[in-house]
């Protein structure tokens, strides 16, 4: 009897080895067979991988209730309970494609992304510093992309018929006031920040996200770097100054700190390059910055960036109204900027992105009328001469706090909402030739709340829907700004996008305070884009229409100041833009071409009627070519910028008609500029070099082509003087050294 039992046990153990065949087919939701899918009987060795026709077949000795799993990268895993008997089982499985960043359509209307990581990036970080016409200036590199104007007489980005004040710049979500060095008449200043601070940039020429506001035309969104790869010291020596810094990465690679100092002095550059202005105070800049970055346990990061800069410059131009007199302009600037922000995962798909920034700006401007011997002259008859002697002292403080919460839903669907608060206090004191002072303070508190959702219906269809609500004390009204972008991906991976948005903006500080009751100025954007991206090519074409309403009109008030008086201004802009980048056709050559057509008219400020503003050219084009010659360890970069002539006007107040009139107008010559740069990297390829050196030679306007940006008129309007670049060419020679402290050994020790 007992033996029988043993026999039964042995038999049952053998019996269980009888096999069941499981076979079937795996398709995606569109009925296309999926190859390479792993199909598994859960917690057993038994399973198979589908062939290219989606078929699979395997046998198992398991019995009873089991779970069949199917999985492949990019699809939602599948599980089904089956009951195994010895009869064959046929399964037909359908897998749903996951919406993943890799496959999904990119919502790109209006935006140019410069990043090393981001899919859909048009430029990468190094492009910004190797574009010769940019001279290492963050925003200038974007002037080789469509939508921007080649404005050389003042700083900023003039986008799609908008003025520079309609473009705002954000660093890690916080608005940066005074992004550029303070304006000087007729000379465009540079951006304050080193392009190497940023790992990614989004340049939006319209239709940007509801997370940002107060810019009628464009947002430039800069994201600072996370932890550095290693501890490093840098030294820069060039014709324009000296600089050095250190970035220290903690041994555990969880935190870093850095400091740097730069001294810029154009004394040497002035020896090389002939300048139109007579610089009696050679431009000199002290600039220091500090940062720390800490990785949190939950995969977040805290970043601090602090900046201080002091600079001064002074120059003389011949006075436009007289044959012998001169106009002297001097400015001293002190600027500080601090930004701390924290990004972290809160669990459950929630993320927080929050930051505070504080900045101050101090400008002391002196303008003097001088005689041939550079002695101050006060001439009261005719009286307009007297107003050429003045000082202007500006003091400003800005603070911002911002919090954004983000919830990742299934797939890439994301909900984002938050709020920001912006405080500004700007005081200006204007002192006339006779010592009379006009002091004015403009304070503003601006609150906004915003929400935005990224909705991915499939990998080929996505939308970003958002809205922003803003309240500014200056206007003391609420505005509501809806934003929408939709993107659709075609079977050949090209995609089409559409964007729409309403954008509001306050009056410029210089036209405030005013007694008039004002509303926000407003722009509506409509953008259509087609884009085809591959790793070697980028092609995009974009058409836009932008409608401006409630633009500010200005008038001279009783104290002689031009202030905003009403919202009766209006305008529109339309155009087509093309961008083509090709890294393949010519071996080791990377080039891009952009072309913009713009048709715009507006009536704003003191314009007597709707006219094409002086900052808008009809046709703008740029070509950038880069070639790296590996055996020479040298990169050659060339850029050519072209724009058709821009209109210029003399707008003067006509006392008999008691209104502004255009008493003279014309069009400048076409703008042509070719720039060239060479980067030589002698240590390239050396394993663990102690010093990594980059030599840079850059020449702007190599061909010395004549450039006229605009015209200045004499008081009586009888004489006009061309505004041209301060020097015909600019030659830059520099050497950048970085001393890496190799941490390979630390990395090994940490792994052991």
């Amino acid at each position: 009897m007992k033996r029988v039992l043993v026999l039964v046990m042995l038999l049952s153990s053998l019996g269980s080895k009888a096999q069941t065949r499981i076979s079937g087919k795996i398709l995606d939701t569109k009925g296309k067979p999926l190859g390479g899918v792993s199909i598994t009987l859960k917690n057993t060795y038994d399973g198979s991988t589908t062939d290219s026709l989606g078929n699979f077949s395997f046998t198992t000795t398991e019995k009873g209730k089991q779970v069949v799993e199917a999985s492949i990268i990019g699809y939602r895993p599948f599980e089904e309970e089956v009951s195994l008997t010895s009869s064959a089982l046929t399964l037909s499985i359908s897998l749903k494609e996951l919406v993943t960043e890799l496959k999904a359509v990119v919502i790109s209307a209006g935006a140019f992304v410069a990043s090393d990581k981001n899919k859909g990036a048009v430029l990468n970080a190094i492009d910004i510093v190797t574009t010769p016409s940019a001279n290492g200036d963050v925003t200038s590199a974007f002037k080789t992309l469509p939508g921007t104007q080649q404005v050389g007489e003042s700083e900023g980005l003039f986008v799609r018929g908008g003025s520079a004040t309609e473009s705002k710049i954000y660093m890690d979500g916080n608005l940066v006031n005074n992004f550029f060095y303070s304006s000087t008449p007729g000379i465009a200043t540079r951006g304050r920040f080193n392009p190497f601070l940023f790992k990614g940039t989004v340049f939006s020429s319209g239709g940007y996200s509801a997370l940002y506001g107060q810019a009628l035309s464009s947002a430039l969104i800069l994201e600072s770097k996370d932890l550095p790869d290693r501890t490093e010291a840098d030294l820069a020596i060039s014709v324009i100054g000296l600089g050095g810094g250190i970035q220290h990465l903690a041994k555990n690679k969880k935190s870093s700190w850095g400091i740097s100092y730069n001294y810029t002095n154009l004394w040497l550059a002035f020896k090389f390059n002939k300048y139109k202005q007579d610089f009696y105070e050679i431009p000199a800049y002290h600039q220091g910055d500090a940062n720390f970055r800490i990785k949190t346990k939950t995969g977040g990061i805290i970043k601090y960036y602090g900046y201080i800069s002091a600079n001064k410059t002074g120059f003389r131009n011949p006075d436009i109204d007289s044959a012998v007199l001169k106009d002297a302009f001097a400015i001293e600037n002190l600027n500080t900027y601090q930004n701390i922000n924290w990004k972290d995962n809160l669990g459950n798909g929630w993320r927080i992105i929050t930051g505070i920034s504080y900045s101050t700006n101090k400008d002391d401007i002196l303008n003097e009328l001088e005689d041939a011997n550079n002695q101050k002259q006060v001439i009261t008859n005719p009286s307009f001469y007297a107003f050429k002697n003045f000082t202007l002292n500006n003091r400003a403080q800005y603070a911002q706090a911002r919090v954004v919460l983000e919830k990742k839903m299934n797939g890439l669907n994301t909900l984002r909402f938050g709020s920001d608060y912006f405080y500004s206090n700007e005081r200006s004191t204007y002192t006339l030739y006779d010592g009379s002072k006009f002091s004015e303070t403009v304070k503003d508190n601006m609150e906004s709340v915003f929400a935005e959702a990224d909705i991915y219906l499939t990998n080929s269809l996505a939308a970003k829907v958002g809205s922003r609500l803003e309240h500014s004390d200056v206007i003391s009204k609420w505005n509501i700004a809806p934003r929408l972008s939709v993107a659709y991906k075609f079977a050949d991976n090209s995609q089409a996008s559409f964007a729409y948005g309403l954008f509001y903006q306050n009056p410029e500080r210089k036209y405030l305070p005013t007694t008039a009751s004002l509303d926000y100025s407003r722009a509506a954007h409509y953008i259509l884009q087609y884009q085809k991206l591959s790793s070697q090519h980028t092609f995009r074409i974009e058409a836009f229409y932008k409608k401006y309403s409630d633009l500010y009109k200005t008038s001279v008030n009783i104290t002689g100041r031009e202030t905003a008086v009403n919202n009766n201004g209006f305008g529109d802009a339309k155009g087509v833009e093309i961008f083509w980048r090709d890294k393949k056709t010519f071996k080791n050559v990377d080039y891009w071409i952009s072309y913009s057509y713009l048709d715009t008219k507006r009536d704003f400020l003191n314009y007597p009627q709707a006219i094409t503003p002086s900052f808008a050219a009809n046709h703008t084009a740029a070509l950038v070519v880069k070639k790296f010659v590996l055996p020479w360890k040298t990169g050659f970069n060339l850029s050519y910028n072209f724009a058709t002539g821009r209109p210029y006007y003399r707008i003067a107040y006509d006392n008999t008609q008691s209104k502004y009139v255009i008493s003279d107008a014309g069009k400048t010559i076409n703008y042509n500029s070719m720039s060239f740069s060479i980067n030589y990297l002698p240590n390239l390829g050396k394993t663990n070099p102690k010093v990594f050196t980059v030599w840079v030679l850059g020449i702007n306007n190599v061909l010395g082509q004549n450039q006229v940006f605009n015209y200045n008129y004499s008081n009586d309007g009888n004489r006009k003087v061309a505004i041209t670049p301060p020097s015909k060419r600019f030659i830059f020679i520099g050497c950048f050294l970085s001393f890496g402290i190799d941490r390979t050994q630390d990395a090994i020790n940490n792994n052991l």
Binding site: S13, G47, A747
Partner: protein, 213 residues
């Protein structure tokens, strides 16, 4: 009789559990043997990766199963023609090797795979990604060498990397050869810990050395 019963039961259980272990070894052996013949066919490599992952998931604490699953996945990335797919596959390999790593920390063979994964990410766009993944790949090779100085594979990876690096960047046969030679010397003395422990790469190093003559 009770004793007899007990013995029978014990034997029964023991054979079953031995059978379990035999089954593991046998499954591993047959799949490992298949790796050598699958280099020319990416689809087979994916099948093997899936087989190893299935074994790993069922066994739960066998690092070698995860190791081979990751090895097959990372080798699969090298054969993938569509570069846009590489990152996702390499991420899959990372998930697998991290599981092996948690079962068997500080293992030289695991560090080799980590280096190969970093290289796979780098090869998607070498010019842009060199700064990020180059050091990661190199430091894992260094770690692998230190974790087991007798392991010939870290030097195989290092030598292979050097051979395909342009001479201007400090690569080429001249610099690769001594490293590959040292790897071959180690292969000649290498005894895997068991028949299912890693023992691949000798043919590769011989082939590379042959190309560098």
């Amino acid at each position: 009789m009770k004793k007899f019963m007990l013995i029978i039961v014990v034997i029964f259980l023991a054979t079953n559990s031995f059978a379990q272990s035999d089954k593991y070894i046998a499954a591993m052996k047959s799949n490992i043997a298949a790796i050598d013949t699958s280099y020319k066919n990416p689809a087979n490599l994916l099948t093997l990766a899936n087989n190893f992952e299935r074994i790993a998931t069922a066994e739960k604490n066998q690092w070698l199963a995860y190791y081979y699953a990751a090895l097959c996945q990372v080798n699969y990335t090298y054969m993938e023609q569509d570069k846009s797919k590489v990152d996702a596959i390499a991420d899959k390999a990372t998930a697998l090797i991290n599981k092996a790593d948690s079962l068997q920390p500080n293992n030289s063979e695991i560090s080799c795979i980590k280096s190969m994964i970093a290289s796979a990410h780098m090869m998607v766009n070498p010019m842009q990604r060199y700064m990020e993944y180059g050091p990661e790949s190199a430091s894992n090779i260094e770690a692998a060498m230190q974790q087991d100085p007798t392991n010939p594979r870290p030097e195989l990876l290092k030598g292979e990397g050097l051979k395909y690096t342009p001479e201007q960047f400090g690569g080429g046969c001249a610099t690769a050869k001594p490293v590959l030679q040292s790897s071959l010397d180690k292969f000649n003395n290498f005894k895997p810990a068991s028949e299912i422990h890693p023992n691949w790469g000798k043919h590769r190093v011989e082939k590379l050395l042959g190309e560098c003559k």
